[in-house]
């Protein structure tokens, strides 16, 4: 069935809520209003206020309550109205959720999810791509889907996972892309990268919105005879190192791309793994394409300038191929 990314996420949650009474949702304005992006439209009617809980503006309480419920047999899905507001619940996720399995040996099956990313005029407080904070926190799985079908399959897997998962939904993708999404139960296991475009000359390792930049750049470059392989890593934790390394070993060249700011980002991690484990195969330096190290500005001129895009990525690919 043709679905948007947003519909696919809603579809996964709806199906899991029907299937498993222990799944419930908590967040701000998710009930009557159906969520700031209308993602949970209809959920309140179907599942009632007991399972679609409109919470006060209290991100720490929302995440904390989800942790407590998950320790007591439930599988909560906590929505951040914008993922930026996770900074208010940061302690709960990082200090409590991320360390519980290690300390107590108990499962903490919960998903924290919400819209992330820029490119839509969100301002510095509605545009962050903070995924690497959570990669570097230990004990949290980190998911960044790029396509509707993956979004559905990965959401299903995230809800069923016994660990805390943070699920980044790129808001710029919510309604931008549609594709055929498998109906019914559909699981994409966490920890499997996907070669979304096979190619011979260079590998672009990326996730989230950057996958679409990579595909666009690959299309453009193919006209010039450059055959780009695009690897969508899909989940940052667990990280499918093997698929990434196999691609780079094959092409001998790699560009790493993400929308998050460059410095201290997950791109560095990918480069480090490639450099350490595929060094002998590299014909060129691995290069990163990412946002400029600033907050995401509001005015469209500035935002377009600081964020990565298909052109900037295309140029980086050309450089690496020409090295």
């Amino acid at each position: 069935m043709i679905m948007t990314y947003l519909e696919a996420i809603a579809d996964a949650m709806r199906q899991e809520m029907r299937r498993d009474p222990s799944v419930f949702m908590i967040g701000e304005d998710i009930g009557t209003y159906g969520g700031a992006f209308k993602l949970t439209k209809g959920f309140l009617d179907e599942f009632g206020p007991g399972r679609i809980m409109d919470a006060p503006i209290s991100e720490a309480a929302i995440i904390g309550a989800a942790i407590g419920a998950s320790l007591n047999g439930m599988r909560p899905i906590a929505e951040m109205q914008f993922i930026d507001f996770i900074t208010n619940g940061f302690n709960q996720l990082v200090t409590v959720a991320g360390t519980t399995a290690y300390r107590w040996g108990l499962p903490v099956p919960m998903v924290v999810r919400g819209p992330s990313g820029g490119g839509v005029g969100g301002n510095p407080f509605h545009s962050r791509d903070p995924e690497n904070w959570f990669v570097h926190a230990t004990g949290l799985k980190v998911v960044c889907p790029a396509f509707p079908a993956d979004a559905k399959g990965l959401m299903t897997a995230s809800i069923r996972d016994n660990n805390p998962v943070i699920f980044f939904e790129h808001k710029g993708l919510y309604r931008k892309i549609k594709e055929d999404v498998p109906e019914g139960e559909y699981v994409v296991p966490l920890g499997q990268a996907n070669v979304v475009r096979p190619g011979k000359h260079v590998s672009v390792i990326c996730y989230g919105s950057a996958v679409h930049m990579a595909l666009a750049a690959a299309d453009t470059l193919s006209a010039d005879g450059v055959d780009v392989e695009v690897v969508d890593i899909r989940t940052l934790v667990p990280f499918d190192e093997e698929t990434v390394l196999a691609s780079v070993r094959k092409t001998g060249r790699a560009v790493v791309a993400h929308e998050a700011v460059l410095t201290g980002g997950f791109g560095g991690e990918i480069v480090a793994r490639i450099t350490e484990k595929a060094f002998r195969y590299l014909d060129a330096p691995v290069v990163r394409v990412a946002a400029f190290d600033s907050p995401t500005p509001f005015a469209p001129t500035l935002e377009a300038a600081v964020l990565p895009n298909a052109e900037k990525l295309g140029q980086a690919i050309r450089n690496v191929v020409a090295f």
Binding site: P56, D293, F298, A299, T301, L302, E303, A305
Partner: protein, 338 residues
């Protein structure tokens, strides 16, 4: 669920010079017409970012800011406090350019809406994260006191935002240190789509003051003179060194959370009920009854104000966006000055 409580005693034993009353009305009309002008912009498809109406909140933003000393105190406004910017003497064009993030904005395009800061005007805007600026406002006032100056910091939070943990930490800290802080909790019955009874279960949000050992009062937020008088008391208390105050103002958010929101979740009757208490209409009528102004003058004031607003917006919206290079500046302030 409207939690209505009135306390009109204050206004009865207190009188304000006609010129000041007219000024209050003028400021409220500016706030009101600002909304009208922004709504027009939104409908023209020219607005970019959220358009947050303060319809119904004019008496709060004007009455509270009016109680401050613009040369010594400091204002940390929130998203429904445009009236307070006007009271603090913000220039119309400056405000619009900042708001619409055009070339020349003090934020250089990095942000828009009421988020700008204008230190010369003693205005420090909010960030989107609700409640985050309350500890900052407290620290600002504290710094003045450290230098032996008195600066009262006035800031705002909504009935929803009041549930954020940082609000608690900031209020408690301010109470312990007797910081001259006034927090106006704008209880407009809704936080986005969420009605008050899903945000809190206490009778009055000002009752939180008891738990911090500070003063707290809940008032009708549609009566500008009551708001002014109550805030003056709080400011006086703060200046005396008697610590912070919570003022809960009861109003109704008369439009959606932002203009994209049709607020169909709000019962029609609730809106109709509150429409009768329109802060601007009622105050205009009162001043007319009191012989301070006339219906014609008010109508004329409205018309010119709206025209001014529209002109300023139109000027701002025609300005170019800031140059892309601004995106790469000022992540750090480079000069070491100490």
């Amino acid at each position: 669920m409207t939690k209505q409580r009135r306390n009109d005693k204050a206004t009865q034993t207190w009188s304000l010079p006609a010129a000041e009353r007219l000024e209050l009305l003028r400021m409220m009309i500016m706030a009101r017409e600002f909304d009208a002008a922004m709504l027009r912009l939104y409908r023209q498809g020219k607005a970019f970012g959220g358009v947050y109406s303060q319809l119904g909140n004019e008496a709060v933003s004007v009455g509270t800011a009016y109680a401050l000393d613009r040369t010594a105190d400091v204002l940390f406004p929130m998203h429904r406090n445009i009236g307070a910017h006007f009271v603090f003497g913000q220039d119309l064009d400056t405000l619009m350019v900042n708001h619409l993030a055009r070339a020349g904005s003090q934020m250089r395009g990095t942000d828009g809406t009421g988020h700008y800061a204008d230190p010369a005007k003693r205005i420090y805007g909010n960030v989107s994260h609700l409640g985050a600026m309350i500890p900052v406002a407290a620290g600002f006032a504290l710094a003045s006191r450290m230098r032996g100056e008195t600066c009262v910091a006035l800031t705002y939070i909504g009935d929803g935002g009041a549930q954020v943990g940082e609000v608690h930490e900031a209020l408690n800290f301010a109470a312990v240190q007797r910081i001259p802080l006034v927090l106006v909790i704008e209880n407009n019955q809704y936080a986005y789509s969420t009605p008050s009874h899903l945000e809190f279960a206490c009778e009055k949000l000002s009752d939180r003051a008891i738990g911090y050992g500070m003063a707290g009062v809940t008032i009708d937020g549609t009566d500008v003179e009551l708001v002014l008088k109550t805030t003056q008391d709080a400011v006086a208390r703060a200046r005396r060194g008697d610590g912070p105050t919570i003022i809960e103002t009861l109003t109704m958010r008369m439009r959606g959370h932002a203009e994209h929101d049709d607020f169909s979740y709000v019962p029609k009757e609730q809106l109709e009920e509150w429409a009768k208490k329109d802060p601007v209409e009622r105050y205009a009528e009162r001043l007319i009854t009191d012989g301070v102004t006339t219906a014609e003058s008010v109508a004329a004031l409205r018309a010119t104000t709206l025209a001014d607003m529209i002109a300023a917006i139109d000027r701002a919206v025609e300005l170019p966006w800031p140059d892309a290079s601004e995106g790469f500046r000022n992540v750090f302030i480079d000069e070491v000055s100490a």
